[in-house]
Amino acid sequence: MLLIPCPWCGEREEAEFHHGGEAHITRPKNPDTLTDEQWADYLFMTSNTKGVYLERWVHQHGCRRWFNIARNTATNAILAAYRIGQKPPKRAR
């Protein structure tokens, strides 16, 4: 069980949260101008990193807010939690 540091509520059990996939994937501004390959890359392709991975979580059974965390997927160590719209802290890059 992960202990997830919600930026608003502090550390809570993983069961209160829901995983929202990879963070910092921006929807293309002009989808009409994309090629099929670019659209597929946005829609489906993942980095699926082994190591420090930036991901979104939502505190579904708590404050119900979204945020990002940096977690090492090889060890499950959580290096940082930060708000949506912020850049990952230096120690997590």
């Binding site: 069980m1 992960l2 059990e13 993983e14 069961a15 829901h18 995983h19 996939g21 990879e22 099929d36 390959e37 659209w39 597929a40 890359d41 829609l43 489906f44 392709m45 993942t46 980095s47 699926n48 990193t49 082994k50 991975y53 991901e55 977690r71 997927t73 090889a74 060890t75 499950n76």
Partner: protein, 416 residues
């Protein structure tokens, strides 16, 4: 390779079993091969076996970071079935099941295939309709499948909870009688022994650290035991497929998640088929040793740790006890996790890539075990001919660009 038979068994019994020959060699890597297969799990070994057997290509190396079958091949719940919804999936999984049916003879190795039947439960009207649709689709594709009424289910599995007022009422089930279980280690070992006897080099404790390319063509791999050259390289690394593909600059539509399984203490025979329930998230069968083999859904986040969270197991065991109240006092003996490579459409990728000579076989997600021989058979064809077999042509990497997805979330069952 000395053939295993009743005669060899008696002869070796008389020698106190001291003289069995090694099932496969542990050679040093040669500087170059015709084909390098990265990943010595079931799918990689099956690819090597069929490359040698069907296509006469035996100058092959299987490179394995750990030990044979130490990843998902040795960590799954050994369920085999082919009752998938869409034509493309039914064809490839049925091919695999047919190969399984002859695999013990083919390999001269007892894989302990037990076609005891796989039952999928329906708990509400929608489940019933969905199952009946899938049964009809299966039958049109020549896959055996039938609908069971609650009375028939009770006959087959008397211990299941069908009392009125139960939390998960059972309204019916689908049954594939040719489905069942097999011995997972035996499949890895049998395939390895067969491939090795045909000249394939199996290199364990050898980790690939880079994929060498020149001018859009693959030329070999960099490993912890030196550089090995080959004009064809095949990636079959399941949970780590993104990591290895990344070495060649390829991005995949794959997410790797932990998937947990466990076994109970052994008891006398109590359940004689595989029972799965999509809706309540559990599946159970009983091993030959008497242990209940239990599995459920994946953990909710990407990870490579081969372990998962306790609340996933709690949910699964709660479902198990609701469906089978008599299991409530059994103790769990062992629990473990594996890393499964899931695709957005719950279907695999068995494909060429944009790099000439580089092939990839991944994305089998939570259900790769049942596909082991079929996956190896089509992948060997793809590598040998440099073009996909009609069975795996739909499962190309390009489908995420064209949009021709094969959505098997329903038939992929509990775990996705």
């Amino acid at each position: 390779m000395k053939k295993y038979s009743i005669v060899s068994l008696v002869r070796n019994a008389l020698g106190y079993h001291q003289n069995w020959e090694q099932a496969w060699r542990s050679p040093d890597p040669k500087p170059a091969y015709d084909v390098i297969i990265i990943g010595g799990g079931g799918h990689g070994l099956a690819t090597a076996h069929y490359l040698a057997k069907e296509h006469g290509i035996s100058n092959v190396a299987v490179i394995e970071k750990g030990w044979l079958g130490g990843g998902n091949t040795g960590r799954n719940t050994t369920i085999i079935r082919s009752n998938y919804l869409w034509d493309e999936s039914a064809a490839i999984y049925e091919k695999s099941l047919k190969l399984y049916e002859g695999l013990s003879q083919d390999l001269n190795y007892n894989i302990m295939l037990s076609q005891r039947g796989v039952m999928n439960l329906a708990h509400n009207l929608h489940d019933v309709r969905e199952l009946q649709r899938r049964i009809s689709a299966n039958r049109l594709n020549g896959v055996d499948s039938e609908f069971l009424t609650p009375a028939k289910i009770r006959e087959m599995v008397p211990i299941i909870n069908m009392k009125p007022g139960t939390r998960f009422p059972i309204l019916g089930a689908s049954l594939q009688r040719r489905g069942g279980v097999a011995r997972h280690d035996a499949i890895a070992w049998g395939l390895a022994r067969s491939a090795d006897s045909r000249g394939v080099d199996i290199l364990q404790q050898c980790e690939v650290t880079g994929i060498l390319r020149r001018g859009g063509k693959v030329t070999g791999v960099e490993t912890s035991r030196g550089t090995i050259r080959a004009p064809k390289v095949a990636i079959v690394t399941a949970g780590h497929c993104s990591v290895v593909a990344n070495m060649a600059g390829i991005r995949l539509p794959v997410n790797s998640y932990p998937l947990q399984a466990m076994v109970s203490e052994p008891v006398k025979p109590v359940i004689n088929c595989v029972v799965m329930s999509n809706a309540v998230h559990v599946y159970v069968s009983q091993s030959d040793k008497g242990e209940l083999v239990l599995g459920a859904g994946i953990d909710g986040y990407n990870g490579y740790t081969q372990r998962g969270s306790l609340h996933v197991i709690e949910h699964q065991l709660a479902s198990l006890c609701e469906l089978f109240p008599l299991f409530s006092r059994l103790r769990i003996m062992r629990q473990w996790g594996g890393i499964v490579d899931t695709c957005p459409d719950a279907s695999p990728i068995v494909s060429k890539t944009d790099i000439k000579g580089l092939y990839i076989n991944c994305g089998w997600g939570t259900g790769g075990f049942k596909a082991t021989p079929g996956s190896g058979w089509v992948f060997a064809h793809t590598i040998a001919r440099d073009e996909p077999h009609p069975l795996n042509a739909p499962f190309n990497l390009n489908r995420f660009t064209t949009g021709a997805l094969i959505d098997e979330h329903g038939a992929a069952a509990v775990a996705h």
